[in-house]
Each structure stands twice: as C-alpha cells, then as structure tokens.
Symmetry: C2
Subunit: 418 residues, 2 copies
Amino acid sequence: MQSIKASIITIGDELLIGQVIDTNSAYIAQSLNKIGVEVNNRIAVGDTKNGIWDTLISTSKQSNVVIITGGLGPTADDITKPLLNEYFGGNMVTHQPTLDHIIDIFVNKYKRPLIERNSKQAEVPDVCEVLFNENGTAPGMLFEKEGVLYFSLPGVPHEMKALVDKYVIPKIQQNFKTPHIVHRTLLTAGIGESFLAEMISDFETTLPSPIKLAYLPNFGMVRLRLTGIGENENELISNIEEAFSQLKMQVHEYLVTDKDEPMEVVVGNLLKANNETVATAESCTGGFIGHLLSKHAGSSQFYTGGIISYDNRIKTEFLDVSSEILHTVGAVSKEAVEQMAIAVRSKMNTTYGVSVSGIMGPSGQTDEKPLGMVWIGVANKEKVFSKVFYLRFDRSRNIEVTATQAINLLRLLIINKI
Amino acid sequence: MQSIKASIITIGDELLIGQVIDTNSAYIAQSLNKIGVEVNNRIAVGDTKNGIWDTLISTSKQSNVVIITGGLGPTADDITKPLLNEYFGGNMVTHQPTLDHIIDIFVNKYKRPLIERNSKQAEVPDVCEVLFNENGTAPGMLFEKEGVLYFSLPGVPHEMKALVDKYVIPKIQQNFKTPHIVHRTLLTAGIGESFLAEMISDFETTLPSPIKLAYLPNFGMVRLRLTGIGENENELISNIEEAFSQLKMQVHEYLVTDKDEPMEVVVGNLLKANNETVATAESCTGGFIGHLLSKHAGSSQFYTGGIISYDNRIKTEFLDVSSEILHTVGAVSKEAVEQMAIAVRSKMNTTYGVSVSGIMGPSGQTDEKPLGMVWIGVANKEKVFSKVFYLRFDRSRNIEVTATQAINLLRLLIINKI
C-alpha cells in the first residue's frame, strides 16, 4: 500500500511578517495524522499570486492531498478564490445555499444591510464542490486534478476546524486507502534530554525499524514519542505497545504520564480521582497558573480559585505575609511562598495550596536575587514544601516554565514524593 | 535595487504531526522584515533526509537567505548537522570554544559528568562559520553557496532569538543592500471587517501602488495594516505616513490604537499615564485576564492583583456576591459581575475593577443561559457598567475573547466612553 502524503498551505502576509502565529496548521496536521496521512510539509506563503501559484504546482508533485487555509475573507487583500478559479480552469458562479446563509446571517442575525462585499462571498468556481460553512460566510471548496485533492478552507480557526472534521477527513478516507500511523507519547520530569538519551540508548538501538523515537525537551521535562507506520494495524499496535511498555519501565523513575497530555491535565486528573481541590496564590505568574488549571473542561471539579497577589500589599492583606517577612527576606523568598501557600489553602478551604513569587524580568533583580529567580511553594493540611528555581529565559517563557514547575511540584505533593 | 528574499525552514516531525505550534518563525520573520528582507515562504519539514535536502534545493532557487531552525539537539532523532555537512561538502571538526563552553555548562554549572552525546555537539562542518551560542550547547552555523547565505540555528526559542539578533541580522546587512519596508498598523474595535472595508473603500482605491492595505480581523476587532516597500526611505515614510493619517481619520470613531500593540498594552499605557490601577475578579477566565495584564514588563505599575473566584463559594466569601443573587439570577448575571467588579476594586483599593462570569463550554449551559454567554463588568469609584456577550467559539477561544473584551470595556470606562 502506498502511503498518502499531504501538504498544508497557509496563505497570508501576516504570517510572513511574523504578525500572527499559525495555529491552524497544527490542528490540520493532527487530524490528518489520526487517519494515517503523513504531512510532507507545511508552507506559509504571502498574498501574492506567484507565490500561491508556484506553491500549488510544487506541492501537487509531492502530495496526494493539498489543504489550503486563509485568503477567503470579504476584504480586498484576498486573492485566493480568483486564483483557484484560474488554476483549475473554472468560471465563477453563485452558490445559492451559501448566499441564503449569508443573507440569513446579516439580515436576520446581525440586523444589518447585506452589502455586495458579503454577497460576493457566495461566488465559487463552478469546478469545485462547495463545503458548506455553517459557522461563517466564506465557503470551503474541494477541487480535484490529476488524482490530487485540493481543499480550500477559511482561515478563521473554528470555521476551519468544523470543515476539516465534517468534510476534509471523510473525503480523504473515501478517496484513498490510508495506512495506519500510531503514536505513543510519555512525559518525564527531573532529567535532562542527554541523560535520558544515555539511559535508554540500548532500548533505542533495539527498536524495530518501522518505529521511530523522538525527544521533545522542555525545561526540566522531556516528552518521548514513539511513532510507527504500517499496513497491518493489529501488528503495528502490538509492536508499538511492546516497545512503549519497555520504554515506560526504563524511565519509570521520572515518568509523569504515559499519555500525550500536558502537566496540568495530569494533575487535574489526580485531583479528580482523589476528590481533592486546589487554590492558587500567584505573584509573578499573575494568573497564569489559574489559567492552566482552568483552561480544560471539567476543571471546576478541582480548581476552587485563587488570589493574584501581584502587589506586595495584596500578599499582606489577603495572604497574611507579614511586613516583617517583606522587609527582611522579601517577597521572593521561601518564607513568603510558604506563607502564601498555607494561607490560600486555608482561606479557600481546599486540599492543596500552590504559590509562586519570583523575578520574571527583564528588570527587578538585585545583587542577591538575580533575574529568573523564583520560589514555588505547595501545601496541604499537614505540610508545606518550597523550592527555588533559577530560570534563564525571557519574561514570557519564565512565566510559562514557572507555572508548569509549580503544577509539577503540586503533583509531587499529591503522590507523596515530597 | 533588487529586493532581498528569505525562506525560513523549520525542522521537526513534531510540527508535521501537530504536536507543537511553531513560534520561532514569527520571530525570525519579524526580525527580517525590520531590515527590509521579504520572507518568500516558511516551510516546516520532518526529520527526514529527503525532505530537508529537497527543501534546501528549492529554497536556494527562490531566496538570497535561508534560515533553518531545529534539528540540532543532542539526541538521535537529529539528522540536520550531518546532512548540512554533506550538502555543503565539508568534514566534521571539533569547534574548541564550543567544546569549552559545553564542558563549562555540564561540569561547572550542572555538576554532572560530560557524556559523549554532549561533547559531540561541538562538532561542526569545517565549511561553516560557527555562530557561538552562549545560551546553550548547540552552536549556530553559517554556510554560503553561490551567493546564498544559509543560517542553521537551534530550535530552543531563547537560543535562536539571541543568535538572530547577534549574528543573523548583522551578517545579512553586511552581505546585501536591502530596501526599506515600512509597516503601520492600527486597531479598531466595535465594527466588523466588511463594514470597515465599505467605510474605507474610497481610501483604498486611491492608495498609491507601492502601499498595500491588509485586514486582520478578530472577534469584534479588526487590525488594519499598511505596508510599503521602496528604495528611498524618506519618500516611503512620508507616503505611508500620509496614507496612515488619512486612514486614522476615516476610522477614528472605532480607533483603539495607531500602534501594532495588543489591547492590554493600550490599556496598561492608559493606566500608567493616569497613575491609575486595576484589580480583577475572574470566574470563567480563571486568571487569564490577570495573565494578559501582567505579562508585559512594567505591569506592576498598574496591576494590583485579583481574585480568581472559580467556585461560587469564593464569589460569596471573597467578593460578597450574595447567596440571594446566586440563587435567583445566578453567577452568570449582570448582578453578579457588577458586585464582583465593585467588591474587588474596593477590597484591593484600586481605581478600577474588572469582572467576568460566563459559560465557556463545552458544557454547563441551561435553557436561559446558552454556551458562550458571558457577563463582563467594570467599575470605578463612581459607577459600574456591565455588558453581556454571546460567543460561539470553543472553550479556549471563548476564554481569550472574553479576556480581550473585558480589557476593552475597561478601556472604554477609562476614556469615559461608557
């Protein structure tokens, strides 16, 4: 069986000048991967006819499926639709169901007059199959040429996602017989990438050839991923499961989870399983730990709330950090974070409290307290524990790493490892 | 003058299976753009020899500068360095300053033995110029072939950024005479993309040809960008400034800022200019508003702190939302958010209070309160104002949009528009 390859093309000058970050491609790549389609490449091009045209030609030689997002909005910087019409040799016609939908949105929902710019969005090349976009005004389109499928989708993330799920994936499965791709991912904490690689080097050399191992390092945490591809699904799964069990045994001392899930989901699941709750007291992360704990559905089962004590006054008034602590050892100290964790847990009446206080940069350091110094505290009813970290990233990365380390420290307290 | 073109290649299977989102390319694109280099395309390829090799060949035909990130870590899934050595016809040699640096990091800093896997990172092709990476163990490399410059950089963001600033940009400026690219961006709120386009359609048709207008829509907010490119810097700036002034006048009713900055920076600057402060009371956003307000340097001047009242009990105990309110109109109500905004402002003794309570999904809706319904409140000493929104995105986008709308409502209160 031939493997099915895809290219993802993202259109928009904003990507090439770095004004926005492309998140659509990740969703499309994940969805294709689940059905056994390998992504050859992801290409971002500007709103220029030549750039888009050349990329269509080059990807059509490499891939069976080409997915294009962006370039379909109502305003004049969009050149994609006329270009596709020309590329596939069609004529523009009005798609009546889309026009009815646009009229409904503007006239009935927004109570605004329908302007030509909007009704024009219902025009499509007569050589495409329209993928009806119930969430927006720009229709998706499917073209076929010399056995290659081309999907053109709007760039608005929730519109794009709905069309991928409803049309793109089923159409690919109807048109191609795809192989199986299986990924198994685990997360480790507390060991660096190179030491981990040393530890499992024998395992790696004995891996059967269709299985690949990849390292995805983060600060103090490394994700390991096994990927296998093959025709026989059962054989593939059994091979990869065997290898994955061995891998888990080898790294068990550092294993956080054997699923592809972020740290906060691991901890959320532990808390839910134990019927336990947590409250947060954040200084330097300014709410980001609360955000991580609450961003996934179902978090109200374990996340009670928190105090963002950005100003020292709030540490004193809401978390009982004494002015003596603030004046002697300061807000970035073992004493301060331990008091914060104890106080937020007790005041919010939760099983655990987590606290952080640090210097995220780019300024605020002193001779004793360098940039990137951060104290993290965790507490339950019986004990309190704290640890200092010295980070060396920029402000936004320091905030992220601090939050993840704080949640990891909470995990260690929950499983009785500290 | 010939325009200088660049391609950005990002290496890593994790990008093609959608496991991680590429943020490096945006930084590189921005940096290139500032010095007048146009990015032709951004291409993500997997850890496969053929994919990387073919991409090097195709980009070398299109671009004067090729920037490669990723694929340089200490573990076995990295094949980039040997490939570059072969592609440029070199031999691997040890780069002594890098080896000394690696030894220093492991032996002196981490107090760990140096293993071969790490010392091997000091090996480089003898046909490259080493770009010394003081923040990590993988050196950057510069190759030249037939007039094209190839930069290979580690994928760790803060290491990559430092090498771009210190070596990549200066080397490009030494080797090429670049034209000037000028962007001017403004942000509007309260008018949709197509209505905005209608409003400024006359302006758009009279724009001189080297100036392009682009629309970057978001929920209830649209960013407009003018881009000009040319040899004569003074002429270019004067043309674009004139067009930008006209554009600002045309949209003044909806103008939030005439800079390329996010909403929370606009509001932070307003607060700093007025010597005013804000506190947050967040339910459904779980700390994300606090995070936005505190993620930029200097935020301690205006952001005092907040209460994350995720559980209703915290709304009552910390923000005095009466159980009568909770039992009659409920936590997602005008009454609840107004009380939350008033209470957090008063208890934290700030100029303003901002509050949110809503149903972010994927569940939790009732007959009266649909998914995506969110109340936002803002208060100062004299008044309180609240507004309901009906969002229709997924949970994570609903959280983002809610936070940005809350900060926009705060802006309207600060500038006396509500």
